[in-house]
């Protein structure tokens, strides 16, 4: 079976890979590129554990073919921290215990960042609806929502 050659950018790094046409971006990230921070919870777009950004848009990597990454800017959890400095969301998730088992955490962080990139001052309701595509079974969402609201306020303060 001949493979497709895809040229893309992942977390700012020019990246090339070969994949089958039927392969999802999730399989490419995890199995071909070793970026296992993006998790598979369902494979059908119902849990958000595989959240990534494609040209700034939040998507489920399990609902995208690897081939579609051609020429795109892909963002994954591995690109959230800058060098050794954690993103404020990452830092606050740890500080506020916004994770228990941690399997949904990469997806939540990528989704929350996509929200804050668009909306600097989301209400609690807006945060809850934005993150409704990310399932968490451990926390009851409480501490996750608090962490995101906190970081939004922190970032607003920083840019003021």
């Amino acid at each position: 079976m001949s493979k497709l050659h895809v040229t893309t950018t992942i977390n700012g790094e020019p990246t090339e890979f070969l994949c089958d046409a039927r392969e999802t971006m999730l399989d490419v990230l995890r199995d071909r590129l070793g970026l296992t921070g993006t998790k598979e919870g369902c494979g059908s777009g119902d849990c958000g554990a595989c959240s990534i950004t494609v040209d700034g848009r939040l998507v489920c990597a399990c609902l995208m073919f690897g081939a579609e990454a051609e020429g795109s800017q892909i963002g994954t959890i591995e690109g959230l921290a800058e060098g050794e400095k954690l993103h404020p969301l990452q830092k606050r998730f740890i500080e506020l215990a916004a994770l228990q088992c941690g399997i949904c955490t990469p997806g939540f962080l990528v989704a929350a960042k996509a929200l804050l990139d668009r909306n600097k001052n989301p209400t609690e309701t807006e945060v809850r609806y934005w993150l409704a595509g990310n399932l968490c079974r451990c926390t009851g969402y409480d501490k996750i929502i608090r962490a995101v609201m906190d970081v939004a306020a922190e970032l607003r303060g920083a840019t003021r």
Binding site: A21, R22, G45, G133
Partner: protein, 287 residues
């Protein structure tokens, strides 16, 4: 394992040519249904034709008050189109109810329509809006009212090789408003148990035009003429709303399944009609 091809043509003509040439091909717009179907083994295309690199299919254009939405434009892009949102808030809301924010980044109105699910969220709103879909096939282009596209669950009236290119929402007179409501057990992430789209125009306090549509209560999305007739000419008073709700209940031919019962769906069709009409009327009055 059968080989599978992937193409990302940059023109519609090329897409149609590729599509017509290969029997087992599937059009890839947002892919939020296609990938799930492929994973479950429900479909196994030999050729995937990605239409998102075709500008005409991913853009939104306004012309003399009407809007032409590329069939592969993502829900997120549609939701961010301020002018469209202002004129067709119900349609935009419906499109923005398709799946999560993640799904919104990919899913398209064209895909939602061509997937031909009776529970598709955007379709009742588009049907109520009187939208048409532009199809292009080997035989050229044609326009079709959106309610005529699906012929049953997962089945369409698309001719072989035909692709949905764009959806057109007509210009609207002053005093018009639309709304879409769906019932889901949770607040998000569910398939509609019932969906209801209402589009109407109010002049001098009376409803002059109306279109009502129901989703998930029959094998295809229904245009409910009886409900529209009950609203037109009325002041949208309780009696008219009840008559329209009764018309909605009367056309329901739902099934009992994991998402709802026949009795529940039938009842909810009437409930949503009343609520959606109230929202549409409110919008019409401030339009």
């Amino acid at each position: 394992m059968a080989d599978i091809r992937y193409s990302a043509p940059s023109t519609i003509d090329e897409a149609v040519r590729l599509f017509a040439a290969s029997g087992g091909a599937k059009i890839l717009a947002g892919g939020t249904d296609l990938l799930v179907q492929m994973r479950s083994g429900a479909v196994s295309p030999g050729h995937i034709i990605d239409v998102k690199r075709i500008a005409e299919m991913t853009s939104i254009a306004e012309q003399n008050g009407s809007f032409r939405i590329g069939a592969a434009a993502s829900a997120a892009v549609i939701g961010e189109h301020a002018a469209l949102r202002k004129v067709w808030p119900g349609v935009v809301e419906a499109i923005n109810l398709i799946g999560s924010k993640q799904v919104q980044g990919r899913a398209s109105a064209g895909g939602n329509l061509c997937n031909a699910s009776p529970a598709a969220d955007s379709v009742p709103a588009m049907v109520a809006a009187g939208a048409t879909v532009t199809l292009q096939g080997p035989g050229g282009r044609r326009e079709l009212p959106v309610e005529q596209l699906a012929s049953g669950p997962g089945r369409t009236t698309l001719a072989p090789g035909e692709i949905a290119v764009a959806i057109t929402l007509p210009a609207r007179p002053k005093g018009s408003g639309d709304a879409y409501l769906r019932l889901i057990p949770r607040t998000e992430m569910d398939i509609a148990v019932v969906g209801c789209g209402v589009s109407l125009t109010i002049a001098n306090g009376a409803c002059t035009t109306a279109r009502v549509s129901l989703g998930a209560v029959a094998p295809t999305v229904l245009l409910v003429d009886g409900a529209a007739k009950a609203l037109i000419g009325s002041k949208l008073d309780e009696a008219a709303l009840e008559a329209a709700a009764a018309a909605c209940r009367a056309v329901c031919k739902p099934i009992d399944d994991k998402r709802g019962t026949i009795a529940y769906r039938t009842k909810i069709a009437g409930v949503l009609l009343k609520r959606a009409t109230a929202i549409a009327a409110e919008r019409a009055r401030s339009h």
